[in-house]
Amino acid sequence: MAQPDLPTATGSSRAGHVPDLQLREVTKRFSEVVALDQVSLDIERGEFVTLLGPSGCGKTTTLRIVAGFEAQTAGAVSIRGERVDGVPPYRRNVNTVFQSYALFPHLSVFDNVAFGLRVKALPGAEVRRTVGQALDQVRLGGFDRRRPHQLSGGQQQRVALARALVNQPAILLLDEPLGALDLKLRKEMQLELKRVHREVGITFIYVTHDQEEALTMSDRIAVMDAGRVVQLGSPREIYEQPHTTFVANFVGVSNLVPGDIRDRTARSAIIELAGGWRLAKALQRPPSAGQKVLVAVRPEKVRVASPERGLHGRLEDFVYLGSRVTLVVRLTGDRLLHVEDSATQLGNGAGRIGEAVSVEWDEADCLVFDAARGERIE
């Protein structure tokens, strides 16, 4: 699958400016395994970019290469226009917030945060002032004397953040920093990180496998799979216009219904879906008749139709999620389809399992993908 064309920043490139981070055809091999496959990426100053993907997609490897803990097998890495190949981590203007926080257990909170400043041999008064400010910024003022083991997970995470930021790096790397926190705390910390990002104004590169987190926090998201960047764009672009079925499935829930092209005009195609429903879809480049496609539609865009229309099936399950309700429909042809709506709309489904049900959606609300290659058909 060819690497799709990547837009650089949203908006046109400004002449003479230099991206904060530039990866060009970066490849990383670990003996047999190709962890990164010719990854190219530009990240602009002040952006909050998330590398999103499943385990093993290469997002952490990318981060470690930028930090300097791994060296790429091929390709170029530049930070603010300067190549950093072979530059050790302690000489890069980049700091990392580790997944396990990596706070020094034998040092106090103050000494942890002051570590980088002391390496630079800054005068004591300045260190005290800067560290105090950094702790205030993450709302841990007064925690100076405590040891890491005396702090909660959320507090440790904030110390790790302060310790990194206090060195005023050009780029801050965050490696799944919220993974160990419970849901409520995680959501709080997401907003906290966004606030800090706004206040500090430097580039943040964030790694996560949690797509909701990516959508919440990022200016742009780079969706990665098997060592490649599959799509790069704003959260809205990623969610509403995924380039591949992988992205459609990974970010949010997608229903994927197989179909065949029955007919086409210059600007549209008739798609017959398994089950017999024919859908007319407006397309820039409609594929020829007979081609197999996958139609993707989000559950919240699907609605229950009157019995003679749409796709037919049986209600297999009914999931109550408090604010929302999901119907799981087994279509003729055996595919499962999720329909989501508010509890008031879909009502109480108890007792209706096994009943025949029909579903439909508007043609504008769905996307068409080539079944063989998973690429979106525009």
Binding site: Y90, R91, T96, S100, A102, H106, F115, N167
Partner: protein, 555 residues
């Protein structure tokens, strides 16, 4: 470059472990004739060892004793270890420490304790005659039985610890699953617990059988002429007849037996973790809901504790007794033996020597092994695997072999025995223990802490100084203390490598060999008290160090 920190360790291992073993192998194939060792290659020595009746008899007896001791230890240890692992929750740490406490007192003292108990006028005979069961004293001392009992007493803690560790690691969830599926307690034990604890039993076999092969002191003190073991024979050969060729051949035969045992039973034993775990066990803190069902198992455990502590208790008692020997109950009490003991300048000298040697060997061992362990765990370089294998060797052969090997080395190099040779011997003896404690800690070390330091601008040296080294200190301290205590109690290697220097174990041995004055009891008691104090100090240091850097790896 990465190899640099490991060079001192590699050099020491090569010179003081590999070369002596190699020398012994070579000498065993040469001929000794007319007080001269000539490089004539032949198998005559081995033929002698394997065919001449003297050697065959002694070797056979040694194997028999080793087998009996091993079986006895395991039989006694298993229920006890089961009790510790499954019946004690809240006070488990304390119970464990109590098992190890007798172990930490001098083994010479513990062996000697049995002399008073088994002697003709000792405890058992006194009681039997007083009660009227017998008229004449029963011959208990200077028999094979005495050696077996004393050896079981010496090595029981090893067996307990091995079996306990494997039961502890097993956890209860599998047993609960079996009972959930309908298996009663005995069936669960038979079909689930016991088979899965076999790793611990196998480790126990190695830790009891192998050292028993090399026993010297115990048969010398308690066995008399009837229970000579191969170790006694070897010392006679090496020290008296000086037939190093024959001595080497005998050593290698014993080594082969030891290695066979290790190969058969050692497959599931990760030696590096065991020794580190052994030290760690003493200071790890266990808490949880009390599950104290005493029952018959608890009574049994109580008896074992009595078995472990009673000999030492008698020793302390007799140090105050006005009668010589182990007359029980004592006819009167006196402090005269203490007076005599403390008056002896030799005692003070030997204590001072032991202390100095122990400090020196411990420090040297840690200084050599720490950078070596650091490099071996992190980097790959040529010779890395060989060093690790070579370091296991002293742990799986009787320590008497190390002594013989070094004797040969010094003899071949023309170096006279002195304090220096003792120091080399002690350092070599404690080196593997120090190494595995430190290496175990290095394995568990959180590398991301070093990455974090580098991420924050610290180069490799600064990272080592500010992060790695401070966090290594608990492990280094543990290794040092372990080495120190091992050296204090070391007898046989010192015995083989000394000329005039006297250490405390040598002093006690001298007392036991010449005239068995009750003063020995006083000296022995003082040693016991000192051991307790040392143990307490060690515990204190570990707790303090751990409080300073909690959560540090391997602590």
């Amino acid at each position: 470059m990465a190899m640099l920190p490991a060079l001192p360790l590699m050099a020491w291992v090569a010179v003081f472990i590999l070369v002596p073993m190699g020398t012994m192998a070579v000498f065993s194939l040469w001929r000794y004739h007319d007080f001269d060792l000539t490089p004539v290659w032949n198998l005559g020595n081995y033929r002698a060892v394997l065919t001449q009746p003297v050697y065959a008899r002694v070797m056979g007896r040694t194997l028999e004793i080793a087998a009996l001791v091993t079986l006895g230890c395991i039989a006694l240890a298993y229920p006890f270890a089961y009790f510790l692992a499954r019946r004690t929750q809240r006070w488990q740490g304390l119970f464990l420490v109590l098992v190890m406490v007798p172990f930490w007192t001098s083994f010479l003292v513990r062996t000697y304790a049995w002399m008073s108990i088994l002697a003709s006028n000792g405890v058992i005979n006194s009681v039997l005659r007083r009660v009227g069961v017998v008229d004449q004293p029963v011959q208990l001392l200077y028999t094979v039985t005495a050696v077996v009992i004393a050896a079981i007493y010496l090595y029981l803690p090893f067996a307990v610890l091995s079996i306990y560790t494997s039961l502890e690691k097993l956890g209860t969830s599998l047993e609960e699953a079996a009972m959930d599926l309908g298996a009663g307690p005995w069936t669960t034990f038979r079909r689930v617990t016991f088979p899965l604890s076999l790793a611990g039993v196998q480790a126990a076999v190695i830790f009891v059988f192998v050292p028993t092969l090399g026993l010297f002191v115990t048969p010398a003190l308690l066995g008399g002429a009837n229970a000579t073991m191969i170790g006694n024979l070897q010392v006679t050969i090496f020290k008296n007849s000086l037939d190093f060729a024959l001595g080497s051949a005998v050593s290698f035969v014993v080594l082969v037996v030891a290695l066979v045992a290790v190969t058969l039973f050692g497959r599931s034993v990760d030696l590096e973790r065991v020794y580190a775990g052994g030290v760690g066990q003493l200071t790890s803190h266990r808490s949880g809901p009390g599950r104290g069902r005493v029952g018959s198992l608890g009574v049994y455990a109580g008896l074992i504790y009595v078995f472990l502590f009673l000999p030492v208790a008698f020793l302390i008692l007799f140090s105050f007794s006005s009668a010589a020997g182990g007359v029980f109950p004592p006819p009167g009490y006196t402090l005269q033996w203490y007076g005599e003991a403390l008056d002896d300048p030799w005692l003070m000298t030997s204590v001072w020597n032991s202390f100095t040697i122990a400090v020196f060997s411990a420090v040297l061992a840690v200084v050599i092994t720490a950078p070596g362990a650091y490099a071996i765990v992190r980097y790959r370089f040529p010779g890395r695997g060989l060093v690790r294998q070579a370091l296991i060797v002293p742990l799986i052969i009787p320590s008497i072999m190390l002594g013989f090997g070094l004797m040969l080395l010094f003899k071949a190099a023309g170096i006279d025995l002195s304090l220096a040779t003792i120091l080399v011997g002690h350092t070599t003896y404690v080196l593997p223990y120090a190494f595995f404690v430190i290496a175990a800690q290095q394995y568990g070390f959180d590398r991301t802490l070093e990455e974090a330091a580098m991420d924050l601008g610290a180069n490799r040296l600064r990272t080592f100084r500010s992060v790695t080294l401070p966090l290594m200190i608990p492990g280094l301290a543990a290794a040092g203390i372990f080495a120190f205590t091992l050296s204090l109690d070391e007898f046989i290697i010192t015995f083989l490598l000394t000329s005039t220097t006297q250490t405390l174990p040598l002093y006690v041995w001298g007392m036991l060999r010449t005239i068995v004055s009750p003063t020995v009891n006083a000296v022995a008691t003082l040693i016991v008290l000192a051991s307790f104090a040392l143990l307490g100090a060690m515990f204190l240091v570990q707790t303090l160090v751990r409080r300073r850097a909690p959560g540090s790896a391997g602590g």
